[in-house]
């Protein structure tokens, strides 16, 4: 069953006087429980795809449906509420709030729920426990290593128990050891906690941790199939590209 359904999506940007087409008629599904790596050169539309799925950006035409909700038709307020419940987002540069402790950073999405302080504290502790940072609750981001910061960011992404986790270059600023820790964590979240994961990455090693890999180039899906982790297959025409991962 597809958790994410992208149907005939076109997306174009205005750059000064010019219109830049990112996608034209992109159709693709991501199954519930899948773990997909999105690869491709800069400007190929990987991050834009994450933004469309998260409702941070709207398609020029077509529909994006996540867990049965038509993301493209929601208002900004509906999207914010929906995102708080459905999406966990992890950025390349962690993007923790520097004035908040690890615990407060992780608690941030829970402030938007009806949970009381005690429940929020419990869930925050669990999330930080999952990423192995139970002993860093009161540490500020500046007191953590890059790998630890990214794990706090992952804890923030999972604390509200979202169905879908979106990662944009999560290992882009990490050393090899920290990258491995983060990727192992993502594997656990996918396999043990059954989270659906979409991960944009430039790193083939990171992509190897995913169950499937999609290659985008100039907005065209040129490769992808279940279980394929490397190698290239013939270009798939954008109209026909319907990939079930």
């Amino acid at each position: 069953m597809a958790l994410v359904e992208i149907r005939d999506v076109s997306k174009s940007f205005k750059r000064e006087a010019q219109t830049v087409d990112v996608y034209s008629g992109l159709t693709i599904d991501f199954a519930e429980g899948s773990y997909t790596a999105l690869m491709g050169p800069s400007g190929s539309g990987k991050s834009t795809l994450l933004n469309l799925v998260a409702g941070l950006d709207k398609p020029t035409s077509g529909t994006v449906t996540v867990a049965g909700a038509n993301v493209s038709a929601m208002t900004s307020t509906q999207l914010a509420d929906w995102r708080a419940r459905t999406i966990g987002f992890v950025f390349q540069s962690y993007n923790l709030l520097p004035v908040l402790t690890a615990q407060q950073n992780v608690e941030l999405p829970l402030l938007l729920t009806n949970l009381n302080k005690k429940e929020r504290t419990e869930r925050t502790a669990i999330a930080l426990g999952v990423v192995g940072l139970s002993d860093r609750l009161d540490h500020y981001p500046r007191q953590l290593s890059g790998g630890q910061e990214q794990r706090v960011a992952i804890a923030r992404a999972i604390v509200a128990d979202p169905a879908l986790i979106l990662l944009d270059e999560p290992t882009g600023q990490l050393d090899a050891k920290s990258s491995e820790e983060v990727l192992e964590l993502m594997r656990r979240l996918n396999e043990e906690f059954h989270k659906t994961i979409m991960m944009v990455t430039h790193d083939p090693k990171a992509a190897e941790h995913a169950k499937s890999v999609l290659h985008l180039e100039k907005g065209v899906l040129i490769e992808g199939s279940v279980g394929v982790k490397a190698g290239r297959t013939p270009t798939v025409s954008r109209e026909a590209a319907r990939i079930r991962t």
Binding site: A80, R83, F89, S93, N95, V99
Partner: protein, 380 residues
């Protein structure tokens, strides 16, 4: 309330900047309250005046005296029940650096005219009996440490020479606006030293019907219209307002300075708020990604601005309220009856509210309308 730690954490991001912004807001509201209080205190003098009292002065200028013979003629005007007079002495005590008003008055009629000056009966009788006796306000006791029985020598400026008085009474004003820093002595004491020059500076009349004040004033002024000393008669309120009116430009200046200060601080606060927001572009984008709505982000920024403005207001207005109470500012050392009124506090709170909205609304709107994708792209 659950967002309060987030707001406070943001405020503590640049502690020094936040403290300085709060202090500038506090200073602005302190100055605003003090300057406005000077104006309201000056106006208050005319507002507590009795509607039953009229003042007759020389129409040419307040400083030109009136003939003594007017006393009987004024007393015969219909509705006039009592007449008394006073004269400005203008003496200097010690080095003259501490100013206080001295009046030569007709003691019996004057105290009858002004029941607002309250003093023990024995002191009153002692004051009435002795020609060189003086009646002083409590403020002068605090200012100079004088007590009943003390001899006080002043140097006359309008009426030259040394003038020695014996303090026989200390009054307490029933209303602060009447001032507790006045020095009153017998008109006769002044007159006997310089009978050629001394005549009443102004007359005070009590009428039986306040609604007849305009008619009485007109009758009096018509009566002396063609004399060598034409008069200008008005209610005590008009007289006090005339005094306050002499401050007209000063009041305008004070109000203008007050508003200019508030406006300048508004720009400082707004600038600080916008700097804060600019530095937090990526964080706002992240908060929106996490699920914060535009409205929520807007509210959080406005609450930050409100905390700065309201903390500044509490400090500034609190200090302005406490200062006259803790010092002698309101006792005559600065301005008799000077105090920050609830009305000024309410206006100050309103100014703080305007500061909040004006300084917070633009950065809040910017944060609320921040395009997340572009903001994240800048960061990533």
């Amino acid at each position: 309330m659950k967002f309060l730690p987030l707001v406070l954490a943001n405020l503590s991001r640049h502690k020094l900047r936040t403290i300085l912004t709060i202090m500038s807001t506090a200073l602005a509201l302190f100055l605003f309250a003090m300057l406005r209080s000077v104006v309201t205190t000056l106006n208050a003098g005319s507002e507590v005046s009795s509607a039953q009292r009229l003042i007759t002065q020389n129409s040419t200028a307040f400083v030109i005296p009136l003939p003594m013979a007017y006393a009987n003629r004024l007393a015969s005007v219909p509705h006039v029940k009592e007449v008394t007079w006073a004269n400005w002495f203008g003496g200097k005590y010690g080095d003259g650096k501490k100013f206080f008003a001295q009046f030569a008055v007709d003691p019996e009629t004057y105290l009858k005219m002004y029941p607002e000056y309250e003093l023990p009966e024995d002191q009153k009788q002692a004051f009435l009996k002795e020609r060189s006796a003086a009646l002083i306000g409590e403020g002068l006791v605090r200012m100079f440490g004088w007590k009943v029985g003390d001899n006080v020598t002043m140097q006359g400026t309008i009426f030259p020479g040394d003038w020695t008085f014996t303090i026989r009474g200390i009054y307490h004003p029933s209303q602060k606006a009447y001032g507790d820093d006045q020095f009153m002595f017998h008109y006769d004491y002044l007159y006997e030293r310089d009978p050629a020059r001394v005549t009443p500076g102004w007359y005070i009349l009590k009428i039986d019907d306040p609604s007849a004040a305009a008619v009485v004033a007109k009758t009096i002024d018509e009566q002396f219209k063609n004399s060598t000393a034409p008069t200008k008669t008005g209610t005590e309120k008009q007289f006090a307002a005339g005094f306050a009116g002499m401050w007209g430009n000063v009041k305008l200046l004070m109000s203008t300075i007050g508003m200019a200060v508030v406006f300048a601080i508004l720009l400082v606060t707004a600038n600080a708020m916008m700097m804060n927001q600019r530095e937090r572009t990526s964080e706002v984008a992240v908060m929106k990604t996490v699920g914060f709505t535009d409205g929520r982000v807007f509210s959080l920024v406005i609450i930050e601005a409100a905390i700065i403005a309201l903390t500044g207001a509490v400090i500034g207005l609190g200090l302005a309220t406490a200062l006259p109470l803790m010092t002698s500012m309101g006792d005559g050392g600065f301005l008799p009856g000077f105090r920050v009124t609830p009305d000024t506090l309410a206006v100050g709170a309103g100014v703080a509210l305007i500061l909040t909205v004006a300084s917070g609304i633009f950065p809040a709107w910017q944060a609320a309308k921040l395009p997340v994708v572009q903001a994240l792209r800048r960061v990533e």
